[in-house]
């Protein structure tokens, strides 16, 4: 069911944790709420689930206002951090916990949900007899069993080790999609958010600052904060100038082409939240130019022979197989990290030239 959170506010004592947070998740979508720790994302989740009461604002699930309802009347499934299976109940009884007792369909639904998460036949095990990743999937099956309107996942992969995390992530996403569930995933891991979610909402200081598809958030961040939080970026001070209808951003890596940005006002998914935004920068709009910052993505750097572009010294080469990261100290002292192909010919101590490829992100101010 569609989830609509509108202008929710919440304070704990003198601390204002949510300052008018709004979020919309379409039916059947998996949305990620992405933010650093302490930004209020867990509180937002707990308000949707009904464990906290908002001071103001509305929470609607499928058109029904639920802000005043206790958790058990909301039809919201939760997958807590580390699963939180009931340790005294078997896997099957955990999954069946939310189903009406004595109903004829109960056993069938339990098996169906276990199958959904790829754990058919595990019903008789106890929670401590299965692995952490399996526990997480049982927790998902348990949440999905009563067919909730919305499923909330609170940093569900934190406790898993790295290698396991990617596979459990895929299994969880696949299960949510098979179930056709509307889901909200709360995380501080941008890779997790970008790779799993249909839509990403970036949260900061108690509010959602930008919502959009993973690609649009990465390519079109509304401000420098989002740009550096979602994905890596090297930030350099720059000057914007316009001549003959063409904008140029000048920085120490040369004259670059600013990316044509969509105006926040014209894009419903971009929300202004009072911080200094990209207002004066979009495309050819501002002829006066001005000072600001460019944010350069690691994959935009191209390493060339010395003499081409800005000169620098290779500090470090990290080889990952499919690609590599090369750390270069420019002559000005600025350090950049470039993503290159795996067969990188450079060694620490080499002199290189650095140029930038493609349109860049420019933010005034």
């Amino acid at each position: 069911m569609k989830l609509t959170v509108t202008d929710v506010r919440k304070s704990f004592g003198a601390t204002e944790v949510l300052r008018g947070a709004s979020l919309t998740v379409g039916e059947g979508d998996l949305a990620a709420v992405l933010g650093p720790s302490g930004c209020g994302k867990t509180t937002l989740l707990r308000i949707v689930a009904g464990f906290e009461r908002p001071d103001a604002g509305s929470v609607r699930i499928g058109g029904r206002e639920v802000a005043g309802l206790p958790p058990e009347k909301r039809g919201v499934g939760i997958v807590p951090q580390e699963g939180a299976l009931f340790p005294h109940l078997s896997v099957a009884r955990n999954v069946g916990f939310g189903l009406p007792r004595g109903s004829a369909r109960r056993a069938g639904r339990i098996e169906e949900c276990l199958e959904l998460v790829g754990l058919a036949g595990y019903g008789d095990r106890m929670p401590h007899e299965i692995s952490g990743g399996q526990q997480q999937r049982v927790a998902l099956a348990r949440a999905l069993a009563p067919r909730p309107g919305v499923v909330l996942l609170d940093e569900p992969f934190n406790a898993l080790d790295r290698s396991l995390r990617v596979s459990v992530r895929d299994e969880v996403r696949a299960a949510l999609k098979r179930a056709g569930a509307t889901a909200v995933l709360v995380t501080h891991d941008q890779e997790e958010a970008l790779s799993m979610a249909d839509a990403v909402a970036v949260m900061r200081e108690g509010g959602i600052v930008q919502e959009g598809t993973p690609v649009s958030i990465y390519e079109d961040p509304r401000d420098l904060g989002v740009a550096t939080f979602v994905g890596e970026a090297v930030v350099l001070s720059a000057v914007l100038s316009a001549s003959r209808g063409r904008d140029t951003v000048s920085c120490e890596l040369g004259d670059l082409v600013p990316r044509r940005q969509t105006a926040p006002a014209a894009n419903g998914s971009n929300r202004s939240n009072g911080s200094s935004g990209t207002a004066g920068v979009n495309g050819a709009g501002d002829a006066n130019g001005g000072t600001g910052s460019v944010a350069l993505r690691p994959e935009q750097f191209v390493l060339r022979a010395p003499g081409e572009g800005a000169g620098g010294l290779v500090e470090r080469v990290e080889f990952f197989g499919h690609d590599a990261a090369v750390t270069v100290t420019l002559e000005s002292g600025i350090v950049i990290r470039a993503r290159t192909r795996g067969d990188v010919p450079h060694r620490p101590g080499d002199r290189v030239g650095v140029t930038v490829e493609g349109p860049v992100l420019f933010f005034a101010g």
Partner: protein
């Protein structure tokens, strides 16, 4: 691969453990309120009694030099015994749970056994054998009888401690003792609180040791004549002193979150001892066991052998056993049933109401059994004559007396169950009470049952309240023992003492075993 389900508590979740503004649901509030009212009833009656005496009489009792002297004696005795019990309890718990001491399982079982030795029996064995009495004798006997109140919760806490915390401390160049002691504080403080209140309320042992304190003076005043005012005033003063201790303990508990999430650690690091340290540790454990359990047993055996000439009335003995088991079991059931709502409120809610409900249940225990019993007698005579001199009144007295142990057990075991499980149950359609009943209580059950066993154990050897409230003609083992020893018939008393210790040793043994099970 078996991954432990849940581990240390991430920062973002701490808020859930005790949310301040949450309302206590009526289904918990009403029974918890009734329990608190029952616990406060005897004190309330005392206040009424004292007030009936008039202001002048109250002032006269309070301002006597003798009153101050008694207060000093009672407090001094409580302070010394509590300090010794904390030292003994923590050292034993650490050696049994964490060291490689030979025979530590055996010592673990032995360490819980002194709970089965009634303090007045222990006092008598010491007085008879060594002639020790007064302050020194009271300290010796009360420490040996009550250190398990610290040992048991501390051993349990040590066992469920996350070894990772210690390893972190070691890796940061700190000793392990600091972080361990810090984590033991809530359980040690709860145990110390019980010891302090137990000593303040102690009557039999100090009377035998001829050490005059509040309780003995209250008893004398009650017995002295028709004027009940002095005893009521002294009783109220003792309640006031205990209240100060309860508040102090609550302050030290502070705001730190102690909830561990999920299953206890599977394997604890064992600390190696060697050479002189091991010999010293062995001597310490063995010596304590010999003094606390061996000495009274040997004494009773001597009496049994010596006094066989006195003859034994088997029918009387069986009758007394049945009566003892019956009232103690009824007491344990009622106490636990009353303690569950208060324990849940104390574990899950913060705020004035929750604090009041929890602390009010401690008040009843601080009343000396003799005062509490007389208070109930008068209340029953005046308002509910139907239960006067019937067993329900005695069972109610047990519930009021032993409520703190049961509430503490419920609270501690509910804290062990992470609140996120209740939230999961809520999101799956359970109301707040059903979430507690279906998730938290089953998980807390072992701890709650351990609390019930402790109440059963303590009720079986309760003397002063039983003396006053038992139905006419009913004798428990404790009252028979008191009657026989009172008349100097040590031989005739011995079978009752032996049976009492044997019966009480069963739950003690189970408690000790339980505290060891997870270490193996």
């Amino acid at each position: 691969m078996a991954v432990r389900p849940i581990q240390a508590e991430p920062a973002g979740r701490r808020r859930t453990a005790g949310t301040t503004g949450r309302r206590i649901p009526a289904g918990l509030l009403v029974p918890a309120g009734l329990t608190a009212a029952l616990a406060l009833l005897p004190v309330g009656y005392l206040a009424v009694r004292a007030a009936e005496g008039g202001g002048d009489a109250v002032a006269r009792v309070l301002l006597r030099g003798r009153t101050l002297e008694l207060a000093g004696r009672s407090l001094g005795l409580a302070a010394v015994v509590t300090a010794l019990c904390v030292a003994v309890g923590i050292s034993l718990a650490w050696l049994v749970v964490r060291s490689d001491l030979p025979g530590r399982r055996f010592f673990g079982v032995l360490a819980a056994l002194p709970l089965a030795v009634p303090s007045y029996v222990a006092a008598y064995t010491w007085v008879a054998a060594t002639g020790i009495e007064g302050f020194a004798g009271s300290v010796l006997v009360l420490t040996l009888c009550s250190y398990p109140y610290v040992y048991l919760p501390v051993a349990a806490a040590l066992r469920r401690m996350d070894p990772a915390v210690e390893e972190v401390a070691l890796s940061l160049g700190r000793g392990r003792s600091g972080v361990v002691l810090r984590q033991l504080r809530p359980s040690a403080a709860a145990g110390a609180l019980l010891v302090a209140m137990y000593v303040l309320a102690e009557f039999g042992a100090v009377a035998i040791m001829r050490f005059d304190v509040f309780t003995t003076q209250i008893y004398t005043s009650y017995r002295a004549g028709f004027n009940r005012t002095p005893a009521a005033v002294l009783g109220l003063l003792l309640v006031a002193i205990t209240l100060v201790i309860v508040v102090a303990e609550f302050r030290t508990r502070g705001r730190t979150g102690y909830a561990t999430r999920g299953a206890p650690a599977r394997r604890l690091p064992v600390v190696r001892t060697g050479g002189a340290a091991r010999a010293g540790a062995l001597a310490w454990c063995a010596g304590l066991a010999a003094l606390a359990v061996g000495f009274p047993l040997a004494s009773i055996c001597y009496w049994l052998a010596d006094g066989s000439s006195a003859g034994m009335d088997a029918a009387r003995l069986i009758e007394a056993v049945a009566a003892t088991l019956g009232v103690a079991a009824a007491g344990a059931v009622l106490t636990t049933a009353l303690a569950v709502p208060v324990g849940i409120v104390a574990a899950r809610y913060r705020g004035r109401t929750a604090t009041f409900l929890e602390q009010s249940t401690y008040v009843g225990h601080s009343l000396p059994g003799i005062v509490m019993a007389l208070s109930l007698v008068f209340f029953a005579v005046r308002y509910v004559p139907a239960i006067y001199q019937r067993w329900p009144l005695l069972v109610i007295a047990y519930a009021v007396l032993f409520m703190p142990a049961a509430v503490g057990a419920v609270r501690a075991s509910v804290l062990q169950s992470p609140p996120v499980l209740e939230e999961a149950a809520r999101s799956l359609g359970r109301g707040p009470l059903r979430a507690v009943a279906e998730v938290t209580l089953p998980l807390a059950l072992p701890g709650v049952l351990a609390g019930a066993a402790l109440v059963f154990l303590t009720a079986m050897k309760e003397l002063p309240a039983t003396l006053l409230l038992r139905p006419t003609g009913m004798d428990t083992l404790a009252t028979r023992l008191w009657t026989e020893t009172g008349s100097g018939a040590y031989g005739a008393a011995a079978p009752y003492a032996a049976l009492l210790i044997l019966l009480a040793a069963v739950p003690g043994f189970v408690l000790g075993r339980r505290s060891l099970e997870e270490t193996s």
